[in-house]
């Protein structure tokens, strides 16, 4: 496994996020390098978007520190800042898993809203703007030029005056990235930018992201399921499962990491457990937590990796979706059989990595 970047832009240390009894992120630490593309991957419900929401201030983490240090020495403790201040002063921009454009405004207007703070200052907080102060006019022209530059970059210049809601899906994704770039970010957080794109569009996206990294010298933090994007452009990959880091490193290292393969694919043919072994493990998984519940050990305590055996974890996953800490035994038994064979191995892997490198 590779080491952390030497001079990181973003340091996430011992980040924990609990929603009631549900632990969405458990003691996660990772770093994102300056001028790197760092990818955050993991199966559904692994807590990737929660990490993003903590970094961008939409959630306040239960525990942990998130530090962003600019090149010029400014350090920002993101876990203490309001979401809009993180975007404004710490210069972290983000996109959303479900596209959040201003669909009733034109493409150009979307990019103008992104430059709100610069323009507000130039318009003398509106007073200068009302009386057409020359400073504001110049700032307005610059803003339009910047928007034009980004529209050319994402080749949407011909649709500048169309409503954003009328664009095709792939164009909307790229427009959302361009809008985030118009805020002059130091760190760009992209939540599944390739979701729903066809291969040609995701290739375009790859090139856009590489150009943002190389030409604009902006670090990117990326959540993505599309491995062609992740493996193609990432410098560094952090793999999450059940809110914990199970691996990190370069794309090659991660690709060959057993824990990752197990987390994604379950067990490999050659080392498949016999049915009896699997059943034994499942039995253990189903019964152990019940005893633990009676033993009054709260969820999310120190030995969580042991406790959250496969069955319970998939319950936790259901709970993550319904946002209630459902821990009824019945819910565990309705688990599909296919998962049974995969999960225990993933559990062993998680346990192994948790012991090895999950805690720093």
């Amino acid at each position: 496994m590779s080491t952390f970047p030497l001079n990181p832009l973003l340091r996430v240390e011992h980040l924990t996020m609990r929603f009631g009894g549900l632990v969405a992120i458990n003691d996660l630490s990772f770093q994102a390098g300056r001028n790197d593309i760092t990818a955050l991957i993991g199966p559904n419900g692994a807590g990737k978007t929660t990490v993003f929401n903590c970094i961008t201030g939409f959630y306040k983490p239960t525990e942990g520190m998130i530090t962003l240090s600019h090149d010029d020495g400014g350090d920002f403790m993101l876990e203490r800042m309001d979401d809009f201040r993180i975007a404004r002063t710490a210069k972290v921009a983000r996109t959303f898993q479900n596209i959040r454009l201003f669909s009733g405004m034109t493409v150009l207007e979307n990019l103008m809203v992104a430059q709100h703070n610069t323009l507000m200052k130039a318009s003398g907080f509106t007073l200068g703007g009302i009386f057409n102060a020359p400073g504001y006019k110049a700032a307005h022209r610059d803003a339009v030029d910047k928007a034009r530059h980004w529209l050319e970059t994402i080749s949407l210049i011909d649709r500048a005056d169309d409503p954003a809601g009328e664009l095709p899906y792939g164009d909307q994704r790229r427009l959302e990235i361009a809008r985030a770039m118009c805020t002059n970010p130091r760190l760009l957080c992209l939540d599944e930018p390739a979701a729903g794109l066809n291969p040609r569009e995701s290739d375009l996206l790859n090139r856009l992201l590489l150009s943002i990294k190389n030409d604009h010298k902006i670090a990117i933090l990326l959540i993505e399921h599309d491995m062609s994007v992740v493996m193609g452009i990432s410098d560094h990959i952090v793999v999450l499962d059940y809110g914990q880091k199970i691996a990190q490193g370069t794309p090659d290292e991660v690709r060959n990491n057993h824990a990752v393969i197990r987390a994604y694919l379950g067990v490999e043919e050659s080392e498949e457990d016999t049915v009896a072994e699997v059943e034994a493990i499942v039995e253990e998984a189903v019964h152990q937590p019940i005893e633990r519940e009676q033993g009054a050990a709260p969820l999310g305590n120190e030995d969580l990796p042991v406790m959250t055996t496969g069955a319970v974890r998939s319950t936790a996953r259901t709970a993550a979706k319904t946002a209630t800490p459902a821990r009824k035994p019945a819910a565990r038994k309705t688990k599909p059989v296919a998962k049974k064979s995969a999960r225990p191995v993933a559990r062993k892997a998680a346990r192994k990595t948790a012991k090895k490198g999950g805690r720093t």
């Binding site: 979401d83 809009f84 983000r94 201003f102 009733g104 709100h116 507000m120 409503p163």
Partner: protein, 474 residues
């Protein structure tokens, strides 16, 4: 995007409406109308000789049922003709909808200057009808007051997407600011000499005070969203009114404030004194001169409201308002302080209400809490919603329809000749306004003007179809 395609399908099906289907439709209409109108119209109880007597009116009932069926037949035939025409045309797409919206904008561009010329010329047009002159100008003042209030509320509801049901509170703050300052405090502070100027001095103060109240209300409230915001603003409107009723020492309670000085023509009073307006300009003094002056004052105030709003829309703050209406979370991710942005929208909306309130006080000469009840808030909100959220010209149209209708119905005595005995048109006006609202919402669910004008463009200004524009959620 699925909408238009579906519409086309329905169109093609309905073009092929056979006479049998039509007869069935008419039969259903007939039965429904009979079921509803039969007992309601056909049977009537009259009290004769101490008991209730049931009176049958089959002619009335069947006449009305026949009218309903006839209307249904006409609408079916008309609908078929229209749909056939549409069916021949290419399938509607969103692009076409936008193109349609574009023609609407061009039409609007032509409409606005016409309306402006009409508004400026109205007092002169009224002169042609000497016996109705006063009435026409008064109606013009009333409509313009509501246009101004509508434009002010449009900032809050139409642009920022914050549902404010207590807008009349700021109107009241403006009115009482002027009423109390001009009757009680100015004479004590500056002597009687200030009174002819009181209106112009108080106008900005009233605006500032109303904006201040907007912010005082806004700070705790703007964290709420949607329905909760609406309820709290509604409560605030009521609180202001109840404070005005109960704070006898300060506001005069239910007795209100009377003897509010009338505005002067920049220092020249409208009376028959030698230093008055008429004497100075060599005219014979007439009461209508003051009314016409008031008309132009409210016209100028309304136009200032419109100008400032349009200007703000094109500034970063206005774009932030609209972005807030579209998606608050995205706004925060772009570094926009949403609380401050909402607060400015609230304060600016309240400021215009304060100006309008000040004008209301000087026009009436008497204000009391009765004038600031919830119905006023509802009327102003109805004007904004019917006009089309965020549309300035739509507000004008809706104000003319709602306020104009309401007042014109008072004058419709000639209708008495047409209507049967006992039907008083004055009593029908609520019904007529309600009907107008239902019809507008049926045919124009997004308001009269349903397209949004972009605030900035590169090559070509294309109106945004209202289907894409968000409505805000608090």
């Amino acid at each position: 995007m699925a909408g238009p395609a579906k519409d086309t399908k329905i169109t093609q099906e309905q073009v092929a409406l056979t006479p049998a289907e039509m007869a069935k439709d008419l039969l259903v209409t007939f039965l429904l109308a009979l079921a509803i109108l039969g007992p309601l119209v056909g049977l009537r109880t009259t009290s004769g000789s101490g008991t209730l007597i049931l009176e049958y009116r089959p002619l009335w009932a069947f006449g009305m049922v026949a009218a309903v069926v006839a209307v249904r037949l006409l609408s079916l035939l008309y609908g078929m003709g229209k749909m056939a025409a549409q069916g021949r045309a290419a399938p509607q797409t969103a692009a076409l909808a936008t193109a349609k919206a574009k023609t609407a904008i061009d039409w609007g561009k032509f409409l606005a200057p016409t309306l402006l010329v009409l508004a400026v010329a109205l007092p002169f047009i009224a002169m042609l009808f000497p016996q109705m002159e006063r009435r026409i100008v008064d109606l013009g003042i009333l409509v313009l007051t509501y246009v101004m209030l509508g434009w002010g509320l449009n900032v809050v509801v139409g642009l920022a997407g914050l549902l404010d049901l207590g807008y009349v509170a700021f109107y009241a703050v403006g009115a009482y600011s002027y009423g109390l300052l001009a009757t009680r405090y100015f004479p004590a502070w500056f002597g009687e000499g200030i009174l002819p100027w009181a209106f112009f001095v108080t106008l900005p103060i009233a605006g500032i005070l109303a904006a201040l109240w907007g912010m005082i209300l806004g700070f705790p409230v703007l964290r709420l969203r949607g329905d909760y915001l609406a309820i709290v603003t509604l409560a605030f409107g009521e609180i202001i009114r109840i404070v005005l009723i109960n704070w006898m020492d300060f506001t005069g309670g239910p007795n209100g404030v009377s003897g509010i000085p009338r505005p002067s023509f920049f220092g020249l009073p409208f009376d028959d004194s030698p230093g008055g307006f008429a004497a100075t300009f060599g005219l014979s003094p007439k009461p209508i001169q003051r009314i016409v002056f008031l008309y132009y004052v409210i016209l100028v105030l309304a136009l200032i409201t419109n100008y400032v709003t349009m200007k703000l829309r094109k500034l970063p703050i206005g774009r932030a308002w609209e972005a807030l209406r579209e998606d608050e979370i995205a706004c925060r991710s772009l570094g926009i302080n949403t609380t401050n942005t909402k607060l400015t929208a609230f304060a600016i909306g309240a400021m215009f209400a304060g100006f309008a309130g000040s004008f209301f006080a000087t026009r009436q000469g008497f204000i009391s809490p009765e004038s600031f009840n919830f119905l006023e808030s509802a009327t102003i909100l109805a004007i904004v919603v019917l006009g089309g959220l965020g549309s300035q010209i739509g507000v004008v149209a809706a104000a003319v329809v709602i306020v104009g209708f309401f007042e014109v119905f008072r004058e419709m005595n000639f209708l008495k000749a047409i209507l049967p005995e006992g039907f008083d048109p004055v009593q029908l006006r609520m019904l007529a306004v309600g009907l107008a609202m239902v019809l507008i919402m049926r045919w124009k669910p997004r308001g009269l003007v349903t397209s949004r004008d972009p605030t900035v463009y590169l090559k070509e200004k294309k109106a945004v179809s209202a289907d894409l524009v968000g409505e805000g959620h608090g």
